[in-house]
């Protein structure tokens, strides 16, 4: 099949906004890992008589996302009800924006391609259902935790512009980077702070035929987005090759079987009966207010990438690795400001620092810009070798001690005293007449032996450059 079949993918992404309160009530929105049903009130649990009042901060964060994704922001937006029954939906409807979303028509660039954003709207999250037994379809009862009910979400809907499962994953990763940059969400898929559903259909490029759309859900990591779509692509292609109908349906990614399975019986009709939420008048935003929020956005990842490439002369790949995590990128720039050596600093980041972070975890690392400045200075002065520097860096990073302090403590400072090295070299030459003879008879390789002996005598602290010079003088007379 190779290139005959081409996937057409669109994404619907739910982003949990890290506002202080829930979307329509005063309950704290920080509900992850909380005691069940402990951050609830009449509004978010749908008590009779309770009414929703939309939060300010939800709009602020929504505007930030919309701006970062180049969307047009509608000053006039409105909430609507989406009606369906489910035990995690206390009111029997979700408050969302169906007719008049907060924003529309944006894009996000991935691999040089602009993926169009159809709309971004605000809505409330549902609660959590815990199922008895290990399988939702077999459990005889479920348990409802309403803590998450009413946590604000931004739903981002893309056009079907994504051309491969891999591109879908990269889109999601890039989106997460942006969300973290602008500080609106942790974007943590594993914790459900960002959730992704995908629509995939397949085009047969020879016949021009396009399959029905299949919706894929339950992909709760970046890797699974790619894996599930790959699986689904293969499955659809298989059906098309066999001349079978591709059913319009919703399928869920099953982690254990590494496959997608049909989630809903097709006879179940869905009619969400959307209509304007009568409990909330339209929201009309002030254009100055929107402008102010737009202007408050930090430099976005793509802009920063360009700057790193242009100003620091880094490769695009290295630059993105640094840019991807805002904290790292911020720290990198702080260090560069002091070391004035972007390339060298980038090298240390990409190798040593990243290795240490992955080995020890970010919170165990106590390094700051002055550590780098000192370390680089010690190397430049020839006081420590590159290899020594790595060890010192590691210790500095873990203990927070200054490199010079470590050098002093351990007596690691290079011996660069010519007189002393000369004395030692003389002693070494006197002690090894056979080797001197051999060397003079042409065994050039023995030069290294003498260097090694001198280093051994100085416990490795001699400056190798000086040792070389002195031995050259004594043995070769140069």
């Amino acid at each position: 099949m190779d290139n005959r079949y081409r996937p057409v993918i669109g994404l619907e992404i739910h982003v949990q906004l890290n506002t202080k309160t829930k979307a329509f009530c005063d309950c704290s929105a920080e509900v992850f890992d909380l005691e069940p049903n402990s951050s609830i009130c009449p509004v978010c649990t749908g008590q009779p008589g309770a009414l929703p009042v939309p939060s300010h901060e939800m709009f602020e964060l929504g505007i930030k996302i919309a701006s970062a994704l180049n969307c047009h922001i509608n000053l006039y937006s409105r909430f609507d009800r989406k009606n369906y029954f489910y035990p995690d939906l206390p009111k029997g409807y979700q408050i969302t924006q169906f007719f008049h979303p907060l924003s529309e028509r944006g894009w996000l660039e991935v691999d040089g391609k602009k993926i169009r954003i159809t709309r971004i709207h605000l809505e409330e999250d549902a609660g959590k259902l815990l199922h008895s037994g290990d399988n939702i379809t077999k459990s005889d009862y479920s348990l409802v935790d309403m803590n998450r009910c009413g946590v604000p979400l931004a739903e981002i809907v893309t056009e079907p512009d994504i051309e491969s499962p891999e591109q879908a994953r990269i889109f999601m990763e890039k989106l997460r980077t942006i969300l973290r940059y602008i500080g609106v969400s942790t974007g943590d898929m594993e914790k459900g702070a960002m959730r992704c559903d995908a629509n995939i259909s397949v085009v047969d490029t020879i016949t021009g035929k396009q399959s029905n759309k299949v919706e894929v859900k339950n992909m709760n990591s970046f890797k699974f987005v790619e894996k599930a779509l790959e699986y689904e692509f293969d499955r659809i292609v298989q059906l098309m090759e066999n001349g079978q109908e591709v059913e319009r349906e919703t399928r869920g990614w099953n982690l254990t079987t590494k496959s997608t399975v049909s989630m809903r019986s097709k006879e179940e009709s869905h009619d969400y009966r959307y209509f304007p939420e009568p409990d909330i008048p339209p929201v009309v935003l002030d254009s100055e207010y929107v402008e102010k929020i737009k202007n408050s956005l930090p430099e976005l990842p793509d802009d920063r990438l360009r700057r790193f490439v242009n100003d620091y002369k880094l490769s695009e790949k290295d630059a993105w690795t640094l840019v991807e995590d805002k904290k790292i990128a911020d720290f990198f720039e702080e260090v560069v400001k002091q070391t004035k050596e972007p390339k060298e600093t980038a090298n240390w980041f990409l190798t040593e620092l990243f290795r240490m972070i992955s080995e020890h975890g970010e919170d165990k690392i106590h390094i700051n810009p002055t550590h780098f400045v000192e370390l680089f200075q010690l190397m430049r002065d020839g006081k420590i070798s590159r290899n020594m520097a790595k060890d010192i860096f590691q210790e500095s990073a873990l203990s927070g001690k200054m490199p010079s302090e470590i050098v002093k403590e351990k007596g690691l400072e290079q011996v660069d005293d010519t007189k002393l090295i000369e004395d030692i070299a003389k002693k070494v030459i006197e002690a090894h007449p056979k080797e001197v003879e051999g060397f003079k008879n042409g065994k050039e390789g023995l030069f290294g032996f003498f260097v090694g002996q001198v280093m051994k005598e100085t416990k490795g602290k001699a400056n190798p450059k000086t040792v070389n010079e002195i031995l050259n003088k004594f043995l070769r007379g140069v």
Binding site: K20, T21, Q47, S55, H56, P87, S139, D140, S269, P281
Partner: protein, 95 residues
């Protein structure tokens, strides 16, 4: 628009609204009469009129975000029809 309310539609509506109904024949007739009456609106010229979803003309005032714990969570939990610890227990969704 003259719509005919048949068994299938009544079935569909009761499924969507998740309720069992008793006397289906009477219900069907009632719905036919009531919904049939709505057709009087088709004679109204509503060209150019904005729907009036609410009499409120003001725009929504957005709430400041100051987290506050509701002071009677126990009162909410006391109404749970069935529970396991702090969680509401419901029949299995596919049962």
């Amino acid at each position: 628009m003259s719509i005919r309310i048949d068994d299938k539609l009544v079935e569909h509506l009761s499924t969507l609204s998740r309720l069992t109904v008793g006397n289906k024949e009477k219900l069907k007739n009632d719905l036919q009469e009531i919904i049939g009456y709505f057709e009087i609106l088709s004679e109204v010229d509503t060209e150019g009129l904005e729907p009036m979803y609410t009499p409120i003309e003001d725009v929504a005032k957005l709430r400041d975000n100051v987290p506050q714990r509701f002071d009677n969570i126990e009162g909410i939990a006391a109404n749970f029809p069935d529970k396991v610890d702090k969680l509401i227990k419901v029949p299995g969704i596919y049962g």
